[in-house]
């Protein structure tokens, strides 16, 4: 009988703590516990044996902290030795006891993944892969991934386990007292992620005692279709004379865990501070108890690293704006690799009420896979909204799903066999909720019957992959009513019947309904209301459209989905000052502050808006002036004087950094208007030269570098921003390849200045012509000289000055 079959018949019992037992036997503070696998194998086997004799079913090999970051060629013992000895010691105990299973125990790497930390996702996968490979070779019976506090690292570990073994994989995480992971995920989000990754059991361990765990355990059981594991600490820790002690004894522990078993937990055990005695009492407790009945929990949930969005009764808005179709400015941003533009599109939609962001970056002339991967990583570093991966390119879809931190929405699959064959394996491997279009080889059915039939076919095919109905959202398809008068009615009928007859969720790309008609928002918003009333559960719309969001918020209030109409009142309870340039412009014109006929007032307005750092007003003033004035003239008479004035004030100490930057951003907004105008008239702005900026390897704080970037761009320099934590090689490669004349490097800490020095050294060899300017909190002019820099820039204006020295000043 395999372990999973055994689990079906009983409540499984894990072992208890290891660390404190090793300390009792002489492990010193700071000594790495896994080294005892080799130094004291007998002690390890003895402890495992004590747990087995106490009645436990699963012993954890002493491999929790074993990874290549701690055990490698440079350390006394290598990873291979440590892990194999760990598994062997446990195996020996199991053989001697005559019962039990050996779990390869995998804990966190101790490093945080990018973008929060400095460990690359694929590096994390490969670190875990090594452990898994050794564990499999040594004959572990299962893999337990535990004490994970970050969903991204958790995903890396589970992927490594599933991709490199056929063993059962269990995963437990550590919540804080607020019921969140270190990086913010709730139990609901963790369940969605782990179910998607197809683990065999999931749960909670460490951090808290059994009593404090209760609320999280309740949540896990509520959402999880998989068996739930609970391995608590022996209460909460406190310090006594420098030693950690836990606040509840074995009896109280067992009593509290017993209450959790009653809630429907399928496996229990102990973590820090627990002993064979704790486990013995748990064994008594679980004997004769039947395991809880497994039930499929019907929750459709997509997640990001920190948030979980449920698709069901309460309709969900998916923002459609990250998509180049029909948007020339967006296409241009993709071609110019202008990620800021794309991120801004995302955050604006978030501010306006989107719960999920659709991401489509397909453009024939760019590498969609690379761009998709990059945009997903960038977006998830600045927003907590879940993403909808929107592509028909299977490779781009796979790459995006792999690096995505959570359980994504996937757009889309349809009834064509070929498409299902490509998409479902990805959903099975990475998890996700997939949008299923009701069309197939024969096209789009004209009737609701036809669409319902395709939906049924898709459900059945998904079932073959173990993808349940809850992870499929049926797209009932919107076709424009301008060519097919009854199309809206067919769509609405399909939406209603998917809910009533199939019990499934639905989604629509709402705005297609009005294609070819004038004033499309009228039709879109009315249709949206009708669809919601027919049970639509998710809508892909433009959340920046007032009309659409009015329908959405009103519907939720009317359908009793918005308690006390809180969201409705929050959105419409007070009038807000116009927040964008278009509105600012209208307002200024209405109030006769600005008029195209009065250029002098306009110029003054532009200059003062830039100086005061008023973004919308600066853009509005520029836009009005450009109706009559020449763009270059505007730069000469307004922008340069305003920027110079602010810059000089900063140097004199009368203007400070926040004002300098607000001005810079206002100038940027005005320049954007100027650029638009110049493009329309076919002019191109002169760039004064390209500068590379980077924060050096090992340094993950890039605020200083970004300040410099904003200012340099305003002074018409082209900036190639290589980001943060950038290797010397990459900086040298780009500098050499593009024949760059000036490189700016930043470093925040004394510990990262050496990599700045190394970068400069490499640049001197690979690109001897280049000048290097450096800055950062720990640097001084002397320090900069010692590491071989050409210039030390104490602040952003100093970088501008130095750049002008290299490339010539703007007056020339």
């Amino acid at each position: 009988m395999g372990i999973l079959e055994e689990w079906n018949s009983k409540i499984m019992l894990f072992d208890g703590g290891m660390g404190s037992l090793l300390q009792e036997r002489g492990l010193l503070p700071g000594e790495l516990p896994e080294t005892w696998n080799i130094v004291h194998p007998d002690i390890l086997t003895e402890i495992h044996r004590e747990y087995l004799d106490a009645g436990c079913d699963i012993v954890l090999a002493n491999t929790f902290g074993a990874n290549r970051l701690k055990y490698n060629e440079q350390t006394q013992y290598g990873l291979e030795e440590i892990v194999s000895a760990g598994v062997r010691n446990a195996r020996k105990a199991v053989e001697a006891a005559g019962h039990g299973w050996v779990a390869l125990d995998i804990g966190p790497t101790g490093r945080l993944l990018k973008p929060m930390g400095d460990l690359d996702f694929e590096s994390a996968v490969s670190i875990f892969r090594e452990i898994v490979e050794i564990g499999v070779r040594e004959g572990a019976d299962l893999i337990l991934i535990e004490t994970m506090s970050d969903t991204y690292e958790l995903k890396a570990a589970v992927l490594a386990a599933r991709e490199n073994s056929r063993l059962p994989v269990l995963a437990t995480v550590i919540f804080d007292e607020r019921g969140k992971l270190l990086t913010g995920a709730t139990p609901k989000a963790v369940v969605a992620l782990l179910e998607g990754l197809r683990v065999d059991g999931l749960g909670i361990n460490c951090g808290l005692g059994p009593r404090q765990m209760r609320p999280m355990v309740e949540e896990l059981i509520r959402y999880s279709s998989l068996p739930v594991i609970v391995n608590p600490n022996a209460g909460l820790p406190r310090s006594e004379g420098g030693k950690t002690v836990y606040d509840i004894g074995p009896e109280e522990f067992a009593e509290a865990v017993g209450e959790l078993i009653e809630l429907g937990v399928s496996a229990v055990g102990g973590c820090c501070g627990t002993t064979p005695e704790h486990i013995r009492l748990l064994d008594q407790l679980r004997r004769g108890k039947k395991p809880p009945v497994r039930r499929e929990k019907d929750f459709t949930v997509v997640t990001s690293y920190a948030s979980a969005v449920e698709i069901g009764k309460d309709p969900v808005i998916i923002g459609e704006r990250i998509n180049p179709t029909g948007k020339s400015r967006f296409k241009q941003a993709l071609r110019e690799h202008n990620l800021e533009y794309i991120l801004k599109e995302g955050l604006t939609q978030q501010d306006n009420g989107a719960a999920v962001l659709d991401v489509n970056v397909g453009l024939p002339e760019i590498d969609e896979t690379a761009m998709m991967r990059e945009v997903v990583m960038e977006l998830q570093s600045v927003t907590e909204l879940p993403l909808q991966i929107d592509t028909s390119n299977a490779e781009a879809m796979e790459q995006a799903l792999r690096v995505y931190n959570g359980k994504a929405l996937i757009n889309s699959v349809n009834g064509k066999q070929e498409v299902m064959d490509a998409v479902f394996p990805l959903v099975k491997h990475y998890g996700g909720v997939v949008v299923a279009l009701t069309l197939d080889e024969n096209g789009i059915p004209q009737t609701a019957d036809g669409r319902i039939a395709i939906a049924g076919k898709i459900y059945r095919e998904a079932e073959k992959y173990g993808i349940s109905k809850k992870d499929i959202v049926i797209d009932a398809l919107c076709m424009t009513i301008s060519s097919e008068p009854k199309s809206a009615l067919t769509t609405l009928e399909t939406v209603r019947r998917v809910r009533e007859e199939l019990g499934g969720n639905t989604i629509l790309g709402v705005s297609n309904i009005s294609f070819g008609l004038p004033q499309r928002e009228n039709i879109n918003s009315a249709f949206f209301a009708m669809a919601l009333q027919n049970g639509l559960t998710a809508a892909i719309i433009n959340p920046n459209s007032q009309a659409m969001m009015q329908v959405y918020r009103s519907y939720r209030a009317l359908a009793a989905l918005d308690e006390h109409c809180k969201d409705y009142i929050g959105a419409y309870g007070q009038t807000v000052y116009p927040g964008n340039a278009v509105q600012a412009k209208e307002q200024m014109q209405a109030e006769k502050i600005l008029s195209p006929d009065d250029a002098e007032t306009g110029r003054k307005r532009l200059i003062s808006s830039v100086e005061k750092g008023l973004k919308d007003q600066a853009a509005a003033a520029a836009s009005v002036l450009l109706e009559t004035e020449d763009a270059l003239e505007l730069i000469r008479t307004c922008m340069i004087p305003a920027l110079d004035h602010v810059g000089q004030g900063f140097e004199r100490g009368t203007i400070f950094l926040p004002q300098l930057l607000m001005s810079a951003e206002a100038a940027k907004a005005a320049f954007e208007e100027i650029r638009k105008k110049m493009e329309m008239s076919g002019e191109t702005g002169e760039k004064r030269g390209t500068i590379i900026l980077a924060t050096v390897k090992g340094d993950i704080h890039d605020i200083g570098k970004n300040i410099v970037k904003v200012l340099l761009e305003n002074y018409s320099f082209e900036v190639l921003d290589l980001g943060k934590d950038v290797s010397p090689e990459l900086i040298a490669d780009e500098t050499e390849k593009r024949k760059i004349r000036l490189v700016g490097l930043s470093a925040l800490m004394t510990t990262t200045v050496p990599s700045m020095e190394e970068t400069i050294r490499l640049l001197r060899v690979r690109a001897p012509w280049v000048r290097v300017m450096v800055g950062g909190a720990v640097l001084t002019p002397e320090y900069a000289r010692t590491i071989g820099a050409d210039a030390y820039c104490r602040d952003a204006m100093a970088s501008v000055k130095y750049a002008e020295q290299i490339f010539g000043s703007s007056a020339e």
């Binding site: 930390g117 969140k180 600045v382 750092g613 100490g653 090992g698």
Partner: protein, 217 residues
């Protein structure tokens, strides 16, 4: 938590008390946004301390050589190791605005720095009251990176506190803390009550620091 506005302005390089209206408004907005995003947590544990024959300080969980720290801990019989953080939510805001609105990022950065200081002071005060009940008086907190107390001691300090689990602080290879708005420190406890003339900024020997307190006017 009372965040000191003057400290925010100092971090922003605004000398004296002359922030313009736009900056004041931005600081206010940033504080509000921070209040929502920050999830402060702290943890501390006390350890016995002694001076080893080679002059290094021993806290049983690790030992360290640092003259400046030794001066700070003179006459102490135990140390409280301390860690505090504003949490990962603040870093999301910083990352977001660093990419998209750097003026706000700069102000958030300064406001968050003042906020974590205020939070540490608050927790520090609680520890002080607790210690006093045991007849102990606390020295000013001293962090890795101050004076000759090497920043690489972060590793041992975080390990001794299981900082990863207790408050959620992790270190990068170059000893940067994650979340970035975090503080770790050693706080000495002794039988003698010393009136500390200098603490924090003023005790530092780096006289040419841009952000140095008091030398500003």
């Amino acid at each position: 938590m009372m965040v000191n506005l003057q400290e925010i302005y100092r971090y922003l390089g605004i000398m004296g008390n002359r922030p313009d209206d736009a900056t004041k408004k931005l600081v206010g907005e940033c504080l509000e946004e921070l209040e929502r995003a920050a999830k402060p947590r702290s943890f501390s544990r006390s350890f016995p301390m002694s001076v080893l024959p080679d002059g290094s300080l021993d806290f049983t969980c690790f030992s360290v050589k640092s003259e400046d720290l030794k001066k700070n801990l003179k006459g102490c019989e135990e140390v409280i190791l301390f860690a505090a953080t504003l949490g990962a939510g603040v870093d999301l805001l910083l990352r977001r605005y660093t990419r998209l609105e750097v003026s706000r990022a700069v102000v958030l950065q300064a406001a968050a720095a003042a906020m974590i200081e205020a939070y540490c002071d608050e927790k520090n005060q609680e520890l002080r009251i607790e210690a006093k009940k045991r007849g102990l008086f606390l020295r000013p907190r001293f962090s890795p990176g101050y004076g000759d107390f090497s920043v690489s001691c972060q590793r041992e300090l975080c390990r001794a506190l299981s900082a990863e689990k207790t408050v959620g602080i992790m270190l990068t290879e170059s000893f940067m803390m994650n979340p970035s708005k975090s503080v770790t420190a050693v706080i000495g406890a002794g039988r003698e009550e010393l009136s500390c003339a200098k603490s924090g900024c003023e005790a530092c020997r780096k006289q040419d620091c841009l952000y140095r307190r008091n030398e500003i006017q």
